[in-house]
Amino acid sequence: MSATTPASFAGTPAAAKRRGGRAAITLLPFAVLISLFLVAPTLSLIWGSFHDNKTGVFTFENYSYLQHPLDLVPFKNSLELSLASTVVGGLVGLLIAQAIVSSRRPIIQEIATTFSSVAANFAGVPLAFAFIATLGANGLLTRQLLNAGVDLYGGGFKLYSVLGLTIVYAYWEIPLMVLVMLPPLQAMKPAWREAAEILGASRWQYLRSVAIPILMTPFISSLLLLYANAFGAYATAYGLTDGFVALVPIQISNLINGDISFDPGQADALAIGLAVIMVVCIGGRAILERRSARWLAR
């Protein structure tokens, strides 16, 4: 973690050096925090995943799950769940964000933003209970639909499944998407559209050649954020399914605090698998952010 000095910051080389030093000092608390809570645990995970947790001998055994189809089910479930909730959350969230921006009424924008911030953070056991009471086998909505002749559970639907979890995850993925897409949508300058129209562009041409290329990077980076968010979620899924739907975070928790399947080494290895996926998502987002920042800076 090194403090980079932007070109505009430099006066004389000596001054730059001095300012750089000061910047490094102000960054110190952050650097300490990061090393204690991110770097050190990650190093310990990597170390632990390559060592037998009883004997301390170097081993690849902890990664043996990669060869066992049954042990890969949590990865398959997690990937499916994250992908599905990202697609649903991303598309619906984008449409809502666009609707908010086009409304041009500050009050609607404020209400929608506030609600989104609350909903995006409503998760965990309370959310699980809310959904059990609504869409559970004996939930309010389930029973009302049954009265109306629609038998959800008879038709094979289950709240406690990847599909059910997708719906629950969408509850916070949609508002999260709204929150992250509002700024880029608001930053689209009317002047760009006017300029395109003056040059004779149709609505479609404007979208294809101007709006979509500019918004594509924030859109994809938002999707990556949603994806990582879904992949790492634990409490909601556990509160809802009690481990019946095997997901990577739940599997890790079983391995570190289960009385029965205690194996911290394998938990480390699973966590590394999870971390690789997270790094790809968040790293991808960081790269894309940098590209779109050029256009959307206000």
Binding site: P74, I132, A137, N138, K158, D242, A246, D259, I260, S261
Partner: protein, 420 residues
Amino acid sequence: MAYDPLLARIDQLSGAFNAGQIDRRQFLKGLVGLGLSLPAISVIVAACSTAATPSPAALASATAVPATASAAAASLAAMSPTAMATADLTALIAAAKAEGDIYQTGIPPEWVNYQAIFDLWKQDYGIPIDGTATEGEYSSGQELDSIKNTGKPDVGDVGIAFAVQAKQQGLSAPYKNSHWDDIPDNAKDADGYWCCNYWGAQAFAVNTDAVKIPINDWKDLLDPSLKNAVGIDGDPTKANDSFFAVWSAAIANGGGVDNIQPGIDFMNKLQQSGNLTAARASDANIISGEVKIAIKWDYLGLAVRDKAAGAPNITVTIPSSGSLASPYADIIAAKAPHPNAAKLWQELIYSDAAQLLFLGGYAHPIRYNVLNAAGLIPAGLAAKLPSADLYKNVTLVTDITKITAAQAVLGTGWKIVINS
């Protein structure tokens, strides 16, 4: 018979109890308040039922002896063939009173009716009980730590695995209570270092408003009408309750204490049939109807039945082909500061009266079968519990090597249930 104010008051109390005006606990408190000794109370309670008031003869014989410590000892000895000699118990009571205190760890008043047992203790022996406020809620592991590190506790109530561990680590002292012979061999340490005091068995708590077919045994759970209806109490690789649910299912399917695999296979079948729900068999999910048949400890099922109070109607039953029971055990600390009080505590909790109080808290006392055979379980209480006949097929699991072995099999086997 001449008018006796004590008899009249007992009559009045039992009348109120039988008429449902007071609950069992108030009834016992009333009896205790009259200054009766504990064996006398147990005779009255046993004689009482919703059907009949106690006969004057039973009352007279119960109250004929004055409620002094030595008389309590005399009638305690008279009630059980294995009871310790009167002189010994009198001496023990005197010695315990001389110590003047008992310090308990991990014995909370609200658990399995311990408060009523505390009341009995204070009434009969007048010895103050310490430690409850600070260590009452300790887990078994914390209890052993306290015995090891503070040296304060005299007695503790621990899970079976911890009782065995306490003996191995030299933390417990041997003592064989007067009812030692009543206690099954696998529920006590041969050398007296621990003794099981009560147990819970895996049961079905059935929401009879939602489930219209009779549920008597494991195979009934596979009925096609029970889609998403059957739940267990948590992830069995983590929670002891659901671990025993899976293990119990083995009994009806060719396995048992020595072989959990048929239980895992049964749960897999239940999962494949769509009848097993992932919703946890928690109180909230049972009462809301999300889980219509909960497989869990009988005492928890009975408690949620009472809590639901008819909305919905819940019936608790023990599977007819059997289930497994897990006991708690009582230990005396090796370095107990009040060793005689600790021994007297053992005498109390294995006595008929205290064992019936455990049952009143829905925990089955370790001498349940003996009490039942002797007809000492009040009909009013028995009516609130699954039938005694069903409990004959319950197997007490006390061998911790078998528990460890079953856990190991479950660790790999459960993945197949949830991942395939």
